[in-house]
């Protein structure tokens, strides 16, 4: 892994132009920072631009205002875009490829020789406890298993920055709990910088080192909270008084913003 890289976001804005309707201001004057090797959660009402922010970080969208930079911690210099990989809410596995072919896909595209990419893919599959399922197709797996393939497919690329866009949004509550614990261990051991978009306050507190609360559209940062609860965190953590305090603080902010978002969505904004 190369030198630690932080992501700095300054005055970031993005407006989607539309021919038929009024332009959508997805992000407006967003300022925040993602620390290297840490997990930062992004939480905010639906449509506030969380996915848009990830797409800008990934380089798939260009901001209309402000900037997003990668900064080398040691020298303070602007760095190249680091290696990145995304885990998607809809899994986005290739249905015609087996588990191992899905996991090895990125390595294959990069021209990694067969023996090496197979070995690396098998290691990643083992890390998410899916050994024995290498030759199954995604449709033969449960939702939780599919997302573990999604996580393995991202981690096998050894990303310096891992983007997680509501990775457990499509899973049931129990599967979610198990995967949250598994993910937090994997992220910790890999030392990758992670940005986790979530709608779950609990998930944000259990997984993140820092939580950024965003406002209703147009998305801005309304709060940044450092989570100092000791690791490893688990379900038991939710009984700690500090957890309750954090939860209340975030919930209070989100409640107002979600109400606001609902007004926007029903045509009031």
């Amino acid at each position: 892994m190369s030198a630690a890289v932080a992501i700095e976001v300054e005055g970031l804005g993005l407006t989607f132009a539309s021919q038929s309707e009024a332009p959508t201001i997805a992000l407006q004057d967003v300022n925040c920072r993602f620390e290297p090797g840490k997990v930062t959660a992004l939480i905010g009402p639906s449509g506030c631009g969380k996915s848009t922010l990830l797409q800008i970080a990934r380089g798939f969208l260009n901001p209309t205002r402000g900037r997003l930079r990668f900064v080398e911690i040691a020298s303070g210099k602007v760095a190249e875009r680091p290696a990145m990989a995304t885990v998607w809410q809809a899994f986005n596995l290739f249905p015609w490829l087996t588990v191992i072919e899905n996991v090895a896909f990125g390595l294959e595209l990069a021209g990694v020789p067969r023996a090496e990419r197979d070995a690396r893919a098998r290691k990643a599959i083992l890390a998410v406890d899916l050994n024995g399922f290498e030759n199954k197709f995604p449709r033969q797996l449960s939702g939780g298993m599919r997302q573990r393939v999604g996580i393995a497919r991202a981690l096998v690329m050894e990303p310096e920055v891992l983007l997680l866009d509501e990775p457990f949004g499509a899973l049931d509550a129990q599967t979610r709990l198990v995967l949250q614990e598994q993910l937090s261990k994997l992220v910790e051991t890999s030392g990758t910088t992670a940005i986790l978009v979530t709608h779950s306050i609990e998930e944000a507190i259990l997984l993140a080192d820092k939580i950024i609360v965003m406002s209703a559209r147009p998305g801005r940062v309304c709060d940044q909270i450092n989570v100092t609860l000791p690791r490893p965190r688990s379900y038991a953590t939710t009984h700690e008084p500090e957890y309750a305090a954090l939860f209340d603080r975030i919930y209070g902010q989100l409640r107002d913003e979600v109400m606001q978002a609902m007004i926007i969505e029903s045509g009031g904004g």
Binding site: R58, N92, L109, R139, Q140, M145, T175
Partner: protein, 275 residues
């Protein structure tokens, strides 16, 4: 992870009715019923033509048709016609598969190309392709290039249209995932758009082959001295009705074989079918 068990291998939703184990159960067997009724029709045909003494010029007996069929194969003439027709169909059709798929992908991935192609497809696709035969004869004569073109034209439209459809129906999430994993635009086409369009492309190929067969046989009837279509037409002209039936049997068999091969390929491609 107890709540995280693998789904069982694709259990079929449709339940096939279980035949009752009674004496008449063979009547519930679809195969027996199907083949049995065909045999019955042939039997009735044979008996009534014998009994009524209808002229074989109008309706030959099944046994006469079988004799004619074997006779034609014995002299080798039917082999030759069959091979000529197959060759004409599959050369043009084969080219149409490659050109059609490539063109379809190009149309589906480029807004400009689509704008242009949409117009031509809208104008040419509804035109019954047989109506092009006279024009093509004027341009190309009646030889190989004509047959190749007519077979190509029959197959290309369904293949292009289905390829475009298949590519455009590709889940945008898969394209994003591939980009995220570092795919170049070319890799996205080859490794994501093409495989996800495979079922649709095969549906197009299936339709296209059907049209190619029809067109080549029809063209042979118009111009040919060789080929099944020509044999069919010439036999009719000289009132060799058994031979007409014999050629029809060959054509029907060809259709059945083609369908079965395609069914087989479809099953083999089952893994492409989405969850």
């Amino acid at each position: 992870m107890p709540n995280d068990l693998p789904l069982a291998e694709q259990t079929p939703i449709v339940e096939t009715p279980v035949a009752p184990a009674s004496a008449s159960s063979w009547l519930d067997n679809e195969r027996v019923l199907g083949w049995g009724s065909v045999a019955l029709v042939i039997l009735v045909w044979e008996i009534t033509t014998r009994a009524t003494g209808v002229s074989p010029l109008y309706l030959p007996r099944p046994t006469q048709i079988v004799v004619a069929l074997f006779g034609m194969f014995a002299t080798g003439e039917l082999h030759k016609d069959l091979l000529v027709t197959l060759w004409r169909i599959f050369v043009g059709f084969g080219i149409a598969i490659f050109v059609g798929t490539a063109l379809g992908i190009w149309i589906a991935t480029s807004v400009r190309v689509r704008a242009i192609a949409d117009m031509f497809i809208a104008m040419l696709y509804p035109l019954p392709k047989v109506t092009l035969i006279p024009l093509l004869i004027i341009w190309l004569g009646t030889g190989g290039p004509f047959m190749l073109t007519i077979s190509f034209l029959g197959a290309i439209f369904p293949i292009v249209i289905n390829t475009v459809l298949g590519v455009r129906q590709c889940d945008p999430g898969l394209v994003l995932a591939a980009r995220d994993l570092g795919a170049t635009p070319q890799q996205i086409v080859r490794r994501v758009l093409l495989p996800s369009a495979i079922p649709s492309i095969f549906a197009g190929i299936r339709l296209g082959l059907g049209v190619s067969i029809i067109l080549v046989v029809a063209a042979e009837m118009v111009v040919g001295k060789l080929g099944l279509g020509a044999r069919l037409y010439l036999s009719g002209q000289i009132l060799e009705t058994e031979q007409v039936f014999a050629v029809l049997i060959v054509l029907a068999t060809l259709g059945i074989v083609v369908t079965k091969v395609q069914d087989f390929i479809d099953v083999k491609l089952g893994r492409w079918r989405l969850a």
